[in-house]
Symmetry: C2
Subunit: 199 residues, 2 copies
DNA sequence: TCCATTACACTCACTAGTCAGTATACATGA
DNA sequence: TCATGTATACTGACTAGTGAGTGTAATGGA
């Protein structure tokens, strides 16, 4: 019987993710997480040393799935490199129109914990964004773009910008605008890199 | 004597601004604000109906000064339109290197109150960003840029993106990168608009 | 008299984290 | 085969403190 059950620790992380993402870190009590997970607070504290630990686990669980989603959107898109980048923003806009969408969990956590820069959750956020940026840079590099690292940063800025803006005004069309801007920047970077490969 | 004193309400807003901006909304208690302002909680509640009211007042007080700062940075910069836009980001980067800098108060508040989209503070944030965007659009329009509204949105996206990114990783150089991206977008928009005005 | 303010005690709900103890499973040694 | 030991997973009740917001009586100044 045990083998088919979802491990308790995982159940706690799932419950925490749901609540922390939809309500915010400080707005959600440890009691609420325990109740959502269907167990007592004491059991939760058996698996996690503190609320901060739980917050870290929540973000850790979001890291890879998030990255893989971006990678799939990018890979599945047809057309030029600019089209592939635009596709990330377009898919993001689709997610953002969902009523339960509440921006980027990493950025929101960083905003909420802005007064504790060394917090493990903040460090996880930095690591996550760095991973996305590095993947983008590698993808641009593979296409022969010279300024691949700068371009990756610029796309990240537009990506996180659209997270912030759309979270504020709830108008997902900003994400399409960000996608267009990203496409312009990609084209500009390609125009700057391509001439040497043409003749 | 009264005429030279700072009004109590204003003192409360100043105290609230300092604490809310540096610690976050939920992390700061009403008691803490009262203490910072040098008066009792009861007096604070004489001037403000609730903590939410106080939060709204904090953001309301930030609206005009923030906008005026951007406008001054833009106006004081020399060179092309792209240079003027770049200057905003450059000046922002300078601010961001200050240890007390903690991102954009409007965005951080929106992130913290993501679970209450109708909150007055969130509405003030939306209004503030709209004002900045409208001012940018008007400035671009004045320079004969056809896509002035789209360009203004793109610059806002980069602006808020750099707030989010730099708040997370504390690397203000991202703001310079955002400034370069904005300059590229401005140049692209100008190249698209200028030809008709030449002959 | 009225406005602004204080002191301070108070409510009531909530918060992170802890205490002491239980149920089960599995292994050890006699 | 049966007592004993031990590690894992779990629980209800509790502590000590904080949260927003209120009630009330009293004070000083215009």
């Amino acid at each position: 019987m045990k083998s088919t059950e979802i491990p308790t620790r995982e159940r706690i992380v799932v419950a925490a993710s749901k609540l922390f993402y939809s309500e915010g870190i400080r707005a959600v009590s440890v009691d609420a997480v325990a109740e959502q997970a269907g167990l007592t607070k004491r059991t939760l504290y058996y698996h996690f040393a503190s609320k901060d630990d739980l917050v870290a686990a929540y973000l850790e669980a979001r890291d890879q799935p998030n990255l893989k989603l971006f990678q799939r959107w990018f890979a599945d898109a047809e057309g030029t490199l600019a089209d592939k980048v635009r596709s990330i923003f377009h898919n993001l806009a689709r997610s953002a129109r969902h009523p339960r969408w509440k921006g980027c969990g990493f950025l929101r956590t960083a905003a909420e914990l802005a007064n504790m820069p060394g917090h493990p959750a903040v460090k996880l956020g930095i690591a996550h964004k760095k991973r996305v940026e590095a993947w983008l840079a590698a993808s641009f590099e593979a296409e022969g773009i010279h300024s691949s690292k700068v371009l990756a940063r610029q796309v990240i800025l537009l990506l996180d910008g659209s997270f912030a803006v759309v979270l504020l005004n709830r108008d997902a069309s900003y994400m399409e605008t960000a996608g267009e801007a990203a496409a312009v920047l990609v084209e500009a970077a390609m125009a700057f890199s391509k001439p040497e490969t043409a003749p």
